[in-house]
Assembly symmetry: C2
């Protein structure tokens, strides 16, 4: 199993592209992912009560259909809180793409990201759909264009691909995702797409992705705000030629492992590129009573505004980390906790049995100044472990969000 | 019932003061509140698993004793995550004050605020305790000195007092509090003190304060970080001369009303003076299914980083408010929600039945530019209402917290 370059066009039989349609002022704003044969589909979506029109559309379509052929995505307008008119415009977007590709409308999934409360400019979208169909391509560059077209406040595009052997066939999995604000996925993330040529049943595809997000997208947070549009969609078109996976055998395990490589890679990229972020901040909990408690503890640390600002300031203000674990809702003995910080510049024990060690602030600041920083807390109670990814909290988060719409 | 000037020395028989002892570099750092006769005591404290030494001390003392005479407070060092040594130093602080005032040690409550993980400088504290005892005074100025000495990143001191008649006697209630980071009280707040001369049983005093915080201190948040030191302590010395309140009669209701006036006033001051805040941001939920749901919805809005940065930018990005309600955990129909913003500059309906009205962005920005801004969401489902108080999220929050310790 190995990482390769590329994204949604890495696997056999997928084409994609991204274009400038005119929803945003200047940058690319529409993307299309297309499978040349109908692909099994599965997805996980936001748990927010306020669900965007494309989320409602996809949930229904995936529930009622075994396969789909395309996914159209737009940035600039989220099509959330847009009422019946928003649902209609979403269907019009799907229809425009379906017409351009000679597909039935229920073979086209949709995804939107951007400002909440605005209606889709449907004329612009319809023209964009034609342009997308014309420019579809199976090259690596085409995958990149798609990844770029779904960016909002992201500072770089996010792609990942993995390849491995199964039944003597080469299977490939590729994905793309976008952040980078309103990121606190709960059962899914703000627009992630994975394409694969593996042959697998729809049921197992859905089960794999549902299990996967618990350790990948659901373990990241930029600002604790669970979006109205979170969607992770996976296509599996079977063109790798392996024997179709229909039970939880070793092939299924292998697929899940590859899926995890792609989703965790994309998750970390999303956290590291959080709005205003200057670094990736990872929190590892070991020795918790069980996994559930480890998950709660790790997420409480990476979402604390006070921890995040201290990480931005390269300040080893570890009391805030213990404080964040303390209010997480998990019951533990603070007098047993050991705490470390780690980066490419070394590892340092800050706390032993709940109290400060005699550590050097100078070394601590050096470790925290790296681009990827890790806090490790050992609860010394059981075997529960979890890893969560977030980012620091800088002036730029405020700058980006105080005036996002203009 | 009326508001009067003053704070913890407003009621009969209370003295206070604040001094510079030398825990912090320059500013006043120790305060003392003293009742000339033993006062009934009650308190509510942080729910954080990681509890500071003074919190553990006070919880035990209040559980075991009917009355106390003094409360010593220090700022600069929180005495949290300090182990057995921290407990010992806290007791030494209480003992130093007890000796200066000729009291038994268990008549002295303690409270600390500041950096987590550092030990109290006990020599400085002991000298400070003597100074405090010498300068104790029942003047309004002495109360102000105490309120100033407990400030950390607060930009102004917070006091409030109320007076009313009971059994032909004048009863007074006065309080002080401090914020302004790590503020997301859960059953109490980061240092609040209320003194009153009312005669009331300890049981009813405890019950009154426990009920009160649900609508006052527990409804504010600056940064969603529930501190290790949150403490709200109330003294009632009976010197007003009213017939002691021993049952939930109309006198008890009157007392609760006065208490609420003081605690809500202090809560709003704390929210408005949140770290880096430029304005008070209030969220009122009406028409929710029940009160519990209204509380969850209102707190979800005031704690959203995306809502808070939009409020800072005077940007009527209402989608973020609906989004924050949507992920709160409360189930509701987004297509029924009406949303208004209001300030001294007017009131504007932004959303009707879940969709944007045709409002003027210019007027919205004007309303949001005021120093006190309110969002009102009508869920149109039931009779549940709640009000929560927070503040906006500015560059200065990051500045203050990226390098708090130096």
């Amino acid at each position: 199993m190995k990482m390769i370059n590329g994204g949604v066009t890495a696997a056999k039989g997928y084409k994609a592209t991204g274009v400038y349609a005119g929803i945003k002022k200047k940058r690319k704003d529409m993307a299309l992912v297309y499978s040349v044969v109908p692909a099994k589909i599965a997805g996980t979506f936001t748990t927010n009560v306020v669900k965007a029109a494309p989320v409602k559309w996809d949930m229904k379509l995936i529930a009622e259909n075994e396969t789909a052929s395309a996914l159209v995505l737009n940035s600039g307008v989220a099509n959330a809180c847009t009422g019946v008119e928003g649902d209609l415009k979403n269907e019009q977007m799907a229809k425009a793409v379906a017409d351009s590709l000679n597909l039935p409308v229920n073979a086209v999934l949709t995804a939107s990201t951007g400002v909440i409360g605005k209606q889709l400019p449907i004329d612009v979208i319809t023209e964009g759909a034609k342009l997308l169909a014309e420019e579809l391509d199976d090259s690596m560059e085409a995958g990149l264009l798609a990844a770029e077209a779904i960016m909002t406040t992201d500072t770089y595009s996010k792609e990942c691909a993995v390849t491995f052997e199964m039944d003597g066939k080469t299977v490939t999995l590729g994905g793309m995702a976008k952040g980078s604000g309103m990121i606190h996925p709960n059962m899914a993330t703000m627009l992630g797409v994975v394409t694969t040529d593996i042959a697998i049943s729809k049921e197992l595809l859905q089960e794999a992705i549902r299990a996967d997000v618990k350790d990948s997208f659901n373990m990241i947070s930029v600002d604790r705000d669970t979006s109205t549009n979170d969607s992770l969609i996976i296509f599996a078109n079977g063109m790798a030629g392996n024997k179709e996976i229909t039970e939880k055998n070793s092939d299924y395990e292998l697929f899940c492992k590859a899926l995890s490589m792609v989703t965790i890679n994309l998750s970390k990229k999303m956290a590291a590129d959080g709005e205003g972020a200057t670094k990736l901040f990872e929190t590892v909990i070991v020795g918790a009573q069980d996994k559930e408690q480890a998950v709660i503890l790790s997420k409480s640390v990476i979402t604390s505004s006070l921890v995040k600002t201290a990480v931005f300031g390269n300040d080893a203000n570890w009391g805030r980390i213990l404080c964040a674990m303390g209010y997480s809702g998990v019951n533990f003995n603070p007098d047993m906790v050991d705490l470390y910080i780690e980066s490419i510049d070394g590892k340092l024990k800050l706390v032993e049995n709940g109290m400060a060690t005699d550590y050097s602030e100078e070394i601590a600041t050096k470790i925290l100044s790296a681009k990827e920083v890790r806090a490790i807390a050992d609860m010394k109670t059981g075997n529960g472990t979890a890893t969560a990814w977030g980012c620091d909290f800088s002036y730029d988060y405020v700058k980006i969000n105080a005036d996002y719409r203009s």
